[in-house]
């Protein structure tokens, strides 16, 4: 969405044993200006898989050897966050439903219309982008939080709790001046321009939320 320059290029990984379908799908997606990588089997994909992959996977459910479903389970075990679009044949619908319940993004039944397929892929890519940027943002906030001293952490905590400087000073048993100094330091370290920005950045960060739960 915001297309930050450091975001890696998204690639659509097609895993299907049927050469014709795979090739035609590559053709279709490339025609729509996506980057595509193709794999003839689940095993081949697993071999190539690495955690930095970005984009989404288009996966045939029925394949000789490892099935699409098994591949999906494997990826989940590896905490892969790539969204998956299952291609199912007739009669595979119940199975696809059970897969959906496990958290796959979507499935599409053969034969499918190109519109449906493209729409699904676009959704997947967007979701993937968002989740990746959130993760990145979280990492930034977490890194910044790590810079804070214990006292600054306490001060930050109280700021987020909506306390005024005076109250913070009372709570911590220090002077208002000192609180102000700490506050300035926190703002500086968290690279926040305003109080609202500070609170938002901390609250959206999973790691920070975890820290402030107690």
């Amino acid at each position: 969405m915001n297309g930050t320059p450091e975001a890696p290029e998204q690639i659509i990984y097609i895993v299907d044993d049927d050469e014709a379908l795979r090739d035609s799908l590559v053709w279709l997606l490339e025609s729509n200006r996506y980057r595509v990588a193709q794999f003839a089997s689940a095993e081949a994909f697993l071999e190539a898989y690495h955690a930095d992959m970005a984009g989404c996977i288009v996966l045939d459910v029925r394949m000789p050897g490892m099935s699409g479903l098994e591949l999906y389970e494997c990826l989940r075990e590896r905490h892969a966050t790539l969204p998956v679009v299952f291609i199912t044949g007739h009669g595979d619908v119940p199975m696809a439903v059970s897969v959906l319940k496990k958290g796959a993004v979507d499935f599409i039944e053969k034969p499918f219309s190109d519109r449906d397929m493209l729409k699904l892929i676009e959704q997947c890519l967007a979701a993937e982008r968002e989740s990746r940027s959130r993760v990145r943002q979280d990492a930034v906030v977490a890194r910044r939080l790590d810079l804070l001293t214990q006292r600054e952490m306490e001060v930050l905590e109280l700021i987020i709790a909506g306390r005024l400087n005076k109250q913070i000073a009372d709570d911590l048993g220090i002077s208002i001046k000192t609180v102000e100094v700490h506050r300035a330091r926190v703002m500086e370290k968290m690279e926040a321009n305003s109080l609202a920005e500070l609170v938002q950045s901390v609250m959206t960060c999973e790691a920070a939320r975890g820290r402030f739960v107690d």
């Binding site: 049927d18 014709a20 379908l21 090739d23 035609s24 053709w27 025609s31 007739h90 190109d114």
Partner: protein
């Protein structure tokens, strides 16, 4: 020649053996006889000297004593002579006194101055002074007593006349005119008296005599002092030698010490004799002699005793020496340093060393090198005062070694060892031989595979060899001593084993032995055969029974296996439906026939001609070779293999004949005839059935096929769509290369072709599935269907109820297809009841005639039923409510039923669930005929 040398060697050896042995029979004493005699003489001499010395000493002593006693007697005699002379003198003095007194008196009388009174006075006074005087008397010349004093005397009374003896003295006194003594005599009172006559003269006138009468006793008693009478016996001896008086007669006299002296004045032959009293007794005087003699005797006796003792000692020593010399065992005395001191001749005999060279040589010089260490050890023990006993080898003079067993006792005080050695070479050799023998026996025993077990007469095991131990898996220790029941008896067999043992002990064991089970320690059992024979000891007495035991498990197993194989073979052959026979190839005699053959051709066929019996059989010309001309080398060989028809029964047989070698080596013809009539029919039927089945199966599996084909069809369709849409997209965007589009379009077209092929395949598949309709009994169809569904029904806990109307007419249908429809409906029904409580899972199959020529079949379940919206789509292809269903079943079912001019529909079951119903036309002969026409 070496042979001769050997022989002569042997001869020498034998001779030397005798030579060595010979001295053993010579008394060693005999050799020493002269010296012994000399020694004996010397010994005798030695022994005489002390005897002689003792005797000489005794004699000398006796002489000495005698001399001393003689001297003493001499001294005594001198003393007595002196004493006696002194006593005689004393008496003489006394008597002379009395003479003078009387002479005075006589003179007084003569002078007339003496009267009686005076006389009396004076006489009595004198008598009183001299007790030896008894009387003083004046005898007148007429020999008559005038006066007599003392006045009280009774002997001399006045007036008494003198006796003749008195007269003699009276007259002698008158004649000689001097005092004269009369002879002593014994007066009437028994008292010896001596009278003194003194003549009284007055001038020339003789006036008688004065007489003094002495008592001789009193003389002896009173005229000597008391010391004298203590020392001597004093006796007065008359002239005729008779003892007149003695002063004492109490004490013993020493006659050797006596002295006699004539008494003068009387001088009438009276003798005074003194005999010394024995101052000491005879015994004390003899004592020295007695002592000497006694001591000498004692000495001699002791000497004799000593001698006899010595003799005994000597004899014992001689005996010992003899034993020492005679001993066959080596006896020797060793110094504490282990050198020989003394050896007996056995040493020479056994080892060949001269005995006199042995002393001074150490024992170890002779010991075998291998035994030296042990021997030194033993000597060390000896030095510590411990008696030892050991064996070693000792070198003989000829270089051989002999085994000796030594028994050595140390005597530490003497610093000597006393050794006895016994030659055990022979024993060793025997032992060695025994050991070898026993080792051989053991080896034999151990190598023997037959178990040996001996029992004594009471049944106790006294021996078990290793083979037996191995057999029962127990050690000999566990077995020997065991009483029945033995540990290797299996529990279940104990009575039989005990019975066999009893028979054995009674001596009635069969010569063929017993066959028994043996329980191994590990619990497994094996079969063994026990052969029994009496155990006879060396003295010929029976001590028990020896059993040889053979493990017959394997032979038995083999036999059993053979028997079983034979039985199996027979069972197999007899169980065959084929008729089997074996006939001699040459003379055609039947040697073997199985049960099937006999059942066909009679049970007495063995021995008959095969050609006469067997039907059908190949003609002789049909054989590949003439079986009669076959040689054993040619077999086995196939003779005939074809199918023949029995012209009588019309049955078909597959007849196969083969030439082979019979058990006894001759060539035989083995024939197998199998009735294939049924098989032929069956084959025909099943071939037709198969054809139909395949067709039906294609149709039935079409459901699954359709699913696969649909998937397959999807691929090209999706690909075509993708290619097309890709092209559209690129063309829309305007950014494309014509070549790319062309390639994509070609690929799409290729995929379309692929789809076409798939569809063609489906069409082909369906075309082959033409049903074949016949008259079918619905009853049977239901039976078959339920047979198929039975397993599923049980798995799903569904009870199936049959409700087939009796006497249902057969329907005109393809049996397999109807079965398939029915099966499909039944399975559907079961699946539908998966969520129904188990006790209501009932599936009802019913069939009935609904109207003329139409039968209705229904399958009712109590499952979840069918929703209305589903009911509409129920029979459309690919509709399914099941998770793994394909959606083809009902569709096909309806197709099949409609093909049969029937109808398939559903209704809700009033009891819950669904009822599927279909109808089928009843078979009508006319219709069939019409169709076939």
């Amino acid at each position: 020649m070496p042979l001769d040398a050997g022989a002569s060697d042997n001869g020498n050896q034998a001779f030397s053996l005798i030579a060595v042995d010979h001295p053993a029979f010579v008394w060693p004493e005999a050799m020493a006889k002269p010296t012994a005699a000399r020694a004996q003489a010397r010994t005798e001499l030695y022994w005489t000297v002390p005897y002689v010395a003792v005797v000489v000493f005794a004699v000398a002593m006796l002489v000495l004593v005698w001399v001393l006693q003689r001297q003493e007697t001499e001294i005594q005699r001198n003393a007595i002579a002196r004493d006696v002379q002194w006593a005689e003198q004393t008496m003489r003095l006394h008597m002379q006194g009395t003479e003078e007194f009387l002479t005075q008196m006589a003179r007084d009388l003569a002078a007339g101055s003496l009267d009686l009174d005076n006389f009396q006075l004076r006489a009595n006074q004198h008598i009183a002074n001299n007790p030896q005087l008894i009387n003083l008397v004046w005898v007148e010349p007429g020999e008559v007593v005038r006066w007599s004093a003392p006045f009280d005397t009774t002997d001399w009374l006045a007036g008494d006349v003198l006796t003749s003896t008195q007269t003699v003295a009276f007259f002698r006194a008158r004649e000689i005119g001097r005092p004269a003594y009369g002879d002593p005599y014994v007066n009437p009172r028994g008292e010896p008296v001596l009278e003194l006559y003194i003549p009284v003269r007055h001038g020339r006138r003789f006036m008688g005599s004065m007489v003094a009468v002495y008592s001789i006793d009193q003389i002896v008693r009173h005229l000597v002092p008391s010391w004298f009478s203590e020392k001597y016996r004093l006796a007065l001896i008359g002239p005729r030698g008779d003892t007149l008086a003695v002063n004492s007669s109490v004490q013993a006299l020493d006659e050797s010490v006596a002295y006699a002296i004539a008494l003068d004045p009387p001088a009438n032959g009276l003798m005074l004799r003194a005999t010394a009293f024995r101052t000491v007794g005879a015994i004390p005087r003899a004592l020295p002699t007695i002592m000497i003699v006694g001591l000498s005797v004692l000495m001699l006796w002791s000497l004799w005793l000593l001698r006899s003792h010595m003799r005994r000692r000597v004899r014992v020593e001689k005996e010992r020496d003899r034993l020492f010399n005679l001993s066959l065992d080596i006896l020797s005395i060793l110094s504490a340093d282990g050198t020989f001191r003394r050896c007996n001749p056995a040493y020479e005999r056994l080892l060949g060393y001269p005995v006199d060279q042995m002393p001074g040589r150490p024992l170890l010089d002779f010991v075998h090198d291998d035994d030296i260490v042990a021997t030194i050890e033993q000597l060390r023990l000896l030095a510590n005062g411990q008696p030892v006993s050991f064996e070693n080898r000792v070198r003989c003079a000829d270089g051989r070694y002999k085994w000796l067993v030594w028994s050595i006792n140390p005597v530490l005080d003497e610093k000597l060892f006393y050794a006895v050695a016994h030659d055990i070479t022979g024993r060793k050799a025997t032992e060695e031989a025994l050991r070898a023998e026993s080792a051989f026996r053991r080896a034999m025993e151990e190598s023997v595979v037959t178990g040996l077990r001996a029992i004594d007469l009471s049944g106790r095991i006294i021996y078990a060899n290793p083979a037996f131990c191995r057999m029962v898996g127990r050690s000999a220790d566990e077995l020997v001593g065991a009483m029945p029941p033995f540990p290797y008896w299996p529990e279940e067999d104990i009575p039989r084993c005990q019975h066999n043992l009893d028979i054995t002990l009674a001596g009635q064991a069969p010569p063929s032995g017993f066959e028994m089970k043996v329980l191994r320690k590990s619990g497994e059992r094996l079969d063994a055969r026990f052969y029994l024979s009496p155990l006879i000891d060396g003295s010929g007495k029976q001590t028990g029974w020896m059993a040889s035991v053979t493990d017959i498990t394997e032979p038995k197993r083999v036999r059993a296996a053979l028997e079983a194989a034979h039985k199996r073979f027979e069972a197999v052959l007899d169980g065959l439906d084929s008729a089997v026979f074996v006939a001699d190839a040459r003379n055609d005699e039947i040697l073997y026939a199985n049960r099937a053959f006999m059942a066909l051709h009679g049970f007495d066929v063995i021995g008959r001609r095969a050609r006469a019996v067997t039907q059908p059989q190949p003609e002789l010309g049909d054989y590949r070779v003439d079986p009669r001309k076959l040689q054993p080398a040619d077999v086995p060989m196939e003779l005939f293999d074809d199918e023949l028809r029995n012209p009588l029964s019309g049955h078909w047989y597959h007849v196969r004949e083969q030439a082979t070698r019979w058990v006894d080596g001759r060539v035989v013809r083995m024939g197998i005839a199998t009735d294939i009539t049924d098989r032929r029919q069956m084959e025909e039927m099943s071939r037709q059935q198969e054809e139909r089945l395949q067709r039906t199966a294609r149709l039935v599996t079409m459901g699954e096929m359709a699913s696969t084909l649909a998937h397959e069809l999807n691929q090209p369709l999706a690909a075509i769509s993708n290619y097309a849409m890709g092209c559209v997209k690129r063309m829309e965007s305007g950014d494309y290369r014509q070549d790319d589009l062309l390639a994509a379009m070609q690929k799409a077209s290729f995929q379309a072709e692929r789809a076409g092929k798939i569809i063609r395949r489906i069409r082909d598949f369906v075309r082959k599935s033409e049903p074949r309709r016949t008259a079918v009994s619905l009853d049977e169809v239901v039976d078959d269907t339920l047979g198929f569904a039975d397993i599923d029904a049980r798995k799903a806990a569904v009870r199936v109820r049959r409700d087939i109307a009796p006497k249902l007419p057969p329907v005109y249908a393809d049996r397999i297809m109807i079965e398939q429809v029915l099966l499909n409906l039944v399975k559907n029904g079961m699946d539908a009841m998966a969520d129904t409580p188990e006790d209501s899972r009932v599936l009802t199959l019913s069939a009935r005639v609904v109207r003329e020529g139409l039968v209705e079949v229904s399958v009712a379940d109590r499952g979840h039923g069918i929703r209305d919206e589903d009911a509409e789509r129920l029979f459309t292809p690919f509709f399914t409510t099941k998770s793994e269903g394909m959606g083809m079943g009902l569709n096909i079912c309806r197709s099949i039923i409609e093909f049969h001019d029937g109808r398939l529909w559903t209704e809700a079951n009033p009891e819950g669930g669904t009822v599927f119903r279909f109808t089928l036309p009843v078979e009508i002969a006319g219709e069939r005929n019409a169709r076939s026409a």
